[in-house]
């Protein structure tokens, strides 16, 4: 029982109230009521999601785009696989490059073994693909044939009719010169009728053409499957070839050994040589020493993968969020304390709050650029590049611009809520403070801020949500590495696969936003002193 109540409390604080009927049911408490709650809060949402996926699968393929069909849930899942495969491969390359000694050699051996395996599989897969393609080609021809025949027949009919009618009318027209008005009018009616018939035949031909094209676009699951297997194997082969190179002759250890060998021989040459240009030989030694050092600290130039971009986006949004909080909370407190200050701030809040991030970003980029004419040597960038984890995420002016834009768009919610929280302080509490003769700071930290804390956190929660939405837009526009950059790259790429990968991003962004929101709800509940739910 004790465990049950503790669990329920945790669930409640975390804002996962849909789990509480499960816990209660497990404890055997009012099973009918709990089952009803489970039905409503778990089964209905799941059913709604399934229904959504089904509708999506049906509707999406009907719309053709430049980047192929709108991806179905299955295609999006495949795209997710593609994204994670790319990440895994690049991480493996990065690690492989740094391996040394036996570990490197065993890795190399395994990779070579796998490569021969893959090559064998690829041959089989390509063979199968060829067979399937041949068979589907004939099948396709069979399916298409009636459509094609109908189309060709109609097309010929149209062409023949047009030609023959034109010839007939031309001939008739020549004889008309000597005829009177009534004949000429009859000729006009004749030509009109021919025109109508031609149009009709053309319409019929076009309709048949559409049918034919639809038939041609018919896809064959077998062919798709074979193509996929073959592509995947090809991809893995490419990866293995590169990997073997990175673990083998291009590995750091291998290159370092070679460099050290060169260094040694150049030293020997310089120390023992009895003829030649010693100045040049000595210079060679220095050059080789430097080169060896460079090799020793070199890294595999890993491209940005989505997980790394997500982490950078998170860093960016939290930098902006922190900035917004540092600005908004003190100003909000001042606004709440002093009506005069509030009056002074009101026009700014009203004016700047609705401004879109897309307007702030260019301004911020130009201003930040003005502060950092030579970003690589600016003290802030240099300082940030020394922070242990942050340095791997290439903190550049674009990152700062995006973060500042996030701050500019998200600080208003915190500011207004803080002012409201401070302003709504209970008069009785202030009277207590007056009777106790609390000083300004004691009053601020012991009475005012604790009162306002739940509302401050409500504001912070909104700010973080706004910030996360703004960030992706800012990244797309600033091409600062991150989720937004990924979306932009995929959009520019324009292939069917990258189109599906944008859909993956929708779910990733949504999921992260949801988690951030839950975290803020949790914090908000921790600081709330009353029992009212903070939803």
């Amino acid at each position: 029982m004790e465990i049950k109540y503790r669990l329920l409390k945790v669930i409640d604080t975390a804002g996962l109230s849909f789990l509480s009927p499960v816990v209660r049911l497990a404890a055997g408490e009012e099973p009918r009521k709990q089952l009803k709650d489970i039905g409503r809060w778990i089964i209905v949402p799941v059913f709604a999601m399934v229904l959504f996926a089904v509708l999506w699968s049906i509707i999406a393929p009907r719309h053709k785009t430049k980047s192929g069909e709108v991806p179905t849930p299955a295609v999006v899942l495949e795209a997710w696989d593609g994204i994670s495969r790319f990440h895994d491969n690049e991480s493996a390359k990065e690690e492989g490059f740094q391996l040394t000694g036996d570990a490197r050699l065993s890795e190399l051996k395994q990779a070579v073994a796998r490569l021969s395996e893959v090559e064998a599989l690829e041959v089989v897969a390509n063979q199968r693909l060829k067979e399937v393609r041949e068979s589907t080609d004939t099948e396709k021809l069979k399916i298409i044939a009636p459509f094609k025949r109908a189309y060709d027949a109609k097309s010929n009919e149209y062409r023949d009719y047009r030609k023959s009618s034109a010839a007939r009318l031309k001939e008739l027209g020549d004889t008309l010169l000597k005829k009177g008005e009534s004949e000429r009018l009859a000729y006009l009616a004749d030509m009109r009728a021919v025109e109508v018939k031609t149009e009709k035949l053309k319409g019929e031909r076009d309709a048949l053409k559409v049918e034919l094209e639809a038939a041609e676009e018919q896809t064959f699951p077998d062919l798709k499957e074979a193509l996929k297997v073959s592509t995947l194997l090809g991809e893995e082969k490419q990866f293995l070839i590169k990997y073997i190179d990175l673990v083998g002759e291009s590995s750091r250890e291998f290159k370092l050994a070679a460099a050290q060998e060169t260094l040694k021989s150049s030293r020997r040459e310089f120390l023992t040589s009895i003829e030649g240009d010693l100045y040049k030989l000595c210079g060679n030694v220095i050059k080789n020493e430097k080169f060896t050092e460079t090799i020793g600290t070199s890294q595999y130039a890993k491209p940005w993968t989505l997980p790394k971009q997500i982490v950078r986006s998170l860093f960016c949004v939290f930098t902006g969020f922190l900035l917004a909080s540092i600005i908004a909370i003190p100003i909000g407190i001042l606004c709440g304390l002093s009506n005069t200050f509030m009056a002074a701030m009101t026009p700014f809040i009203a004016l700047f709050k609705p401004v879109s991030p897309l307007v702030w970003l260019p301004i911020v980029m130009i201003i930040v650029g003005g502060f950092m004419p030579d970003p690589d040597n600016h003290w802030l960038i240099v300082a940030l590049a020394k922070v242990p984890i942050l340095k791997e995420y290439k903190i550049d002016p674009m990152f700062l611009s995006s973060a500042i834009t996030v701050a500019l768009c998200s600080l208003w919610a915190t500011l207004v809520n803080t002012a409201l929280g401070v302003g709504s302080i209970d008069k009785d509490h202030l009277n207590v403070a007056r009777v106790l003769r609390l000083g300004f700071f004691a009053r601020l930290f012991k009475i005012i801020i604790p009162t306002a804390l739940p509302l401050i956190f409500a504001g912070l929660r909104i700010s973080l949500g706004v910030g996360w939405m703004v960030l992706v837009a800012a990244e797309i526009l600033s091409t600062s590495e991150g989720i937004g950059k990924f979306v932009n790259d995929m959009y520019t790429n324009g292939s069917a696969e990258s189109f599906a990968q944008i859909f993956v991003v929708v779910f990733i962004v949504g999921f992260i936003g949801m988690v951030l929101d839950r975290i803020m709800v949790f914090l908000q509940r921790l600081v709330s002193f009353d029992t009212s739910p903070a939803l």
């Binding site: 009785d428 009277n431 207590v432 106790l436 003769r437 002193f529 009353d530």
Partner: protein, 294 residues
């Protein structure tokens, strides 16, 4: 104030008036209020709701300044609130994010800055025990009943060790049973600690049980203090035996009939100064078209 039963006046109101609004059209809530409270005297001020009782407490505490006259304590004018005049508010006014202990600790730390943390702890614990809340020491105010909250408020006020206790209808938000229990507790504590107390109340029984002197407040606006009823019942008082005493019954009847008289007088006064309402009527009695017609 003809009868001042105890020696020198400790807390006094001298010709005090307070009003709100601009000077020319000011309506006085209290006018010409004179009160002298002796040291260690228990005075109850009784009146109808809305007659300005809470304003009177605010004046005594120094939370508000009178527009005329002076509030003095030991002959010195009161210009601002301070811990020497401890106020117990009707609405408990406990800080909801602090525990019972934390609420009292905040006051103790502020009033006795020289205390070491162990001394603070001891001091707080002593007052929590005095109001029988030791078990609820770490609870938050929202986890307590109204009676328990008011006890915390009492402990906090007492822990400040004020020279004067100002109790602003401390028990009027509680149910009758809890109120009786708390009245007994206040009585016991007062008899032990002997402090100057001004109790604001609307309960005649409560006033008779606790006070040395009961002063009715006339109906507002422009309320003032009427002549006091001395309570000569001997102490320690016990509510069970008290109600059977003829002196108690007589006093209760006297005060009640006085208060009822006040109410009638006020009504009469009000009917004389009845403000004529402007004759405004809506022109169109039809329902707006958007509402479903009947």
């Amino acid at each position: 104030m003809s009868e001042v039963t105890t020696g020198t006046s400790f807390l006094e109101l001298d010709g005090v008036a307070i009003g709100f609004g601009p000077e020319k059209t000011r309506t006085d809530i209290l006018r010409d209020v004179n009160l002298e409270v002796g040291e260690n005297e228990f005075v109850a001020i009784i009146g109808f709701s809305g007659s300005g009782k809470s304003t009177l407490v605010s004046l005594l505490a120094g939370l508000e300044r009178p527009t005329e006259g002076e509030v003095r304590m030991e002959g010195v004018e009161v210009t601002r609130p301070g811990p020497r005049r401890g106020v117990m508010f009707q609405s408990y006014s406990l800080l909801p994010w602090l525990s019972v202990f934390g609420n009292i600790e905040l006051a103790v730390k502020q009033v006795f800055p020289i205390f070491s943390s162990a001394e603070v702890r001891k001091h707080v614990d002593r007052y929590i025990e005095m109001v029988n809340l030791t078990d609820a020491c770490d609870k938050a105010p929202h986890e307590l009943s109204g009676g328990m909250r008011q006890r915390v408020s009492l402990a906090r006020t007492l822990a400040m060790q004020p020279d004067v206790l100002l109790l602003d209808e401390p028990l009027s938000a509680l149910d009758a049973l809890t109120r009786a229990v708390l009245q007994d507790e206040i009585l016991q504590i007062w008899e032990k600690e002997k402090k100057t107390v001004v109790l604001i109340t609307n309960d005649v029984d409560e006033a008779i049980l606790l006070a040395d002197r009961i002063i009715p407040l006339t109906m507002g606006p422009e309320a003032t203090l009427a002549d006091a009823f001395p309570v000569d019942l001997e102490r320690p008082r016990d509510r069970r035996t008290l109600i059977d005493q003829s002196a108690y019954q007589r006093l209760k009847a006297e005060i009640t009939s006085y208060l009822v008289g006040l109410n009638k007088e006020a009504r009469k006064l009000r009917s004389k100064t009845l403000v004529a309402m402007p004759e405004v009527k809506p022109k169109d009695f039809k329902l707006p078209s958007m509402m479903p017609g009947r």
